[in-house]
Symmetry: D2
Amino acid sequence: MKALFLNCTLKPSPQPSNTDALIRKAVRLFEQEQVACEVLRLADYNIKPGTSSDEGEGDEWPRVLAKIKACQILIIGAPVWVGHLSSWGQRYIERMDSVFHEEGLVDKATGQAFTYNKVGGVLITGNEDGAHASVEQLVWAMQEQGFSIPPNANSYWVGEAGPGPSYQEAGGERHLYTNKNVRYLVYNCLHLARVLAQHPYPTNLNQLNEDAKQESDPEKES
Amino acid sequence: MKALFLNCTLKPSPQPSNTDALIRKAVRLFEQEQVACEVLRLADYNIKPGTSSDEGEGDEWPRVLAKIKACQILIIGAPVWVGHLSSWGQRYIERMDSVFHEEGLVDKATGQAFTYNKVGGVLITGNEDGAHASVEQLVWAMQEQGFSIPPNANSYWVGEAGPGPSYQEAGGERHLYTNKNVRYLVYNCLHLARVLAQHPYPTNLNQLNEDAKQESDPEKES
Amino acid sequence: MKALFLNCTLKPSPQPSNTDALIRKAVRLFEQEQVACEVLRLADYNIKPGTSSDEGEGDEWPRVLAKIKACQILIIGAPVWVGHLSSWGQRYIERMDSVFHEEGLVDKATGQAFTYNKVGGVLITGNEDGAHASVEQLVWAMQEQGFSIPPNANSYWVGEAGPGPSYQEAGGERHLYTNKNVRYLVYNCLHLARVLAQHPYPTNLNQLNEDAKQESDPEKES
Amino acid sequence: MKALFLNCTLKPSPQPSNTDALIRKAVRLFEQEQVACEVLRLADYNIKPGTSSDEGEGDEWPRVLAKIKACQILIIGAPVWVGHLSSWGQRYIERMDSVFHEEGLVDKATGQAFTYNKVGGVLITGNEDGAHASVEQLVWAMQEQGFSIPPNANSYWVGEAGPGPSYQEAGGERHLYTNKNVRYLVYNCLHLARVLAQHPYPTNLNQLNEDAKQESDPEKES
């Protein structure tokens, strides 16, 4: 069982990242359960803007995508900026758009995206307000992409209204609510990933598509 | 296996509801798979504003809540109004806030909300733009509340920018994309509900809470 | 000069409302500048669900609408519930949808909604995360409806991640950031309202509509 | 009078951009009114991730920032990707975060950000759903940053639910609703910019800050 963490911080390594500090909590918990963990920052790669799986020369998204393919649990970590998911978080979503239109990312027989039977979760930090909006954008996008989302599949820390210290400086690592939720996230993701490994979705999307065509206008093929 | 559909249309019965028309598609598919379906409109009940499970005299939310407890699959249907989830959709979320703070809605032994091992999905209609935002708000809220979300757990129809005909008038019932997605929703929800019935989450949240306290500030009890 | 405050708390009077406590700060500031203020709670009225200006028997929205018509500055106050604008906030938006489709709410000569030359602002309280999302939904809706939005047209208070005390209990009334922003809101709204009273928008939307038709498909009349 | 258009398309020049096609409509209208227009794409610049006004060697945001300083009207154009504002749109917001914490971007005497008395608007295109969410994120952010927002300060085009042709291919340039709204945007921005040029906000934020401190906890300085 492998868990991959994509940190969408604006700061490349080795700059300290508050989101990384929260990610490390989840890593320790997963590792106690013999889950192999890998953490990477999108800002350390040359992730070109675009919506395909490979934006050509120099694009390093394919390396990230290969890691997503190889994991069973994907956790997106991201900071809040001005009330919203960081631009690297939205770039993750844009690059994953390829699962909706590239045949190579879909199983020929079933029509399932490669993400089916993988489990998703979210970790957010910010100095203030915007965590719910950020979790929301990611949880929903992952479900669209093909991931399954267990209950309480997120944990976050933000401070009170307005400017102020960030997660680590503010002592957020000792914030009970966040520490509870990171545990729910880890154990629920783990259970769901194990169950789906044994009982993968049998859904044949190709067949359902044919069925859907029966009750749809013939000229529109989307 | 039971599926409950909560329609968050602004219109009480027997007024025609576009969201209802989309819900009926899912009902037919579930019934083909021997899932017992019930559809209700929040607008037909006296659902008082508030965040508890019972807002006192005349409040009919307890009747709805009893039905949510009895289902394995909960599908929220809602219209888009001015780019957002209808006010009845947000009221559903507000009333379900009780799972976060009422002991009676949580299993004493495990600390799991009553929603654990239930599966959630979303159906949205609108004459125009706002479906993603509405799905997002509901999918994320359901995950917070304790539901599990399978891949492609939503279907929606909206028309192009600006005022225009709604789902039924516009022929949305013959829109291929929507017809495909309602099928993904139904079959993925069904599989996940069956799997979780056999393999419920073993997560003991009470124990995780104790563990979390070990690395948290003692004075903060949230 | 009149300022109207619509409090979208879930709690009818005389229950204490944290949002009301923040509203009272703005009221005091406006009154120092000889602006007449009125504060009301939607929860104290029978505001029926719907998107017209009058939903028939028993509907008390028309009384609220008359007050909106009579003010120069409209401030919407609302609590955050589960990361989002309260359902009463969304109901305000739904009921104001009438400005987009009811002739009686639009000036015949210019096509301007009755809201033109009025100024809008937002006040939000919540025990935790969701203020930006709530402000955003309202600021944007008000701009759609015809209000003008000055800089820093909002103030909010929320506590840190997770459950916890609300605005008043937490001492939010002494939170510097919120106290600064409520002042920016008041003085910027006041200036913009005065300027627009002297220099109303001359925009003739009817004429622009005719112009727009010249470069649009004739069959679509939206 | 100068209007600056920042196109947040993912595609660098000279690739065709649907958002650019909508921007050009606004440009033509502004130019008829003797407003000097400049259009640029963030994707054509090396805009480093970060939240300061200058992220160091190679960062070309300072060039964009200089243009923002020089305009009276700023229009952000952006595509929708998977229901949300493009990552370049969020990057604009992140880089403008500097107005909240860099002294050089604020007038010493009044405490006003350099954006005060400038006017903001938004143009969005997407093949489907997500325009409201994208407009909302930008309108609200601009108001936070110090811009004033006139009524109907946005125009957008999206197609119906699911994959499909984009703005130009779908004939969106002949879509009446979009063509009406781009006109409202232009003429309302123009009026408000003229009025604010003559009657700038007199608000002294420094003084209001001092006043706010009187009713706030002394130890918190945010």
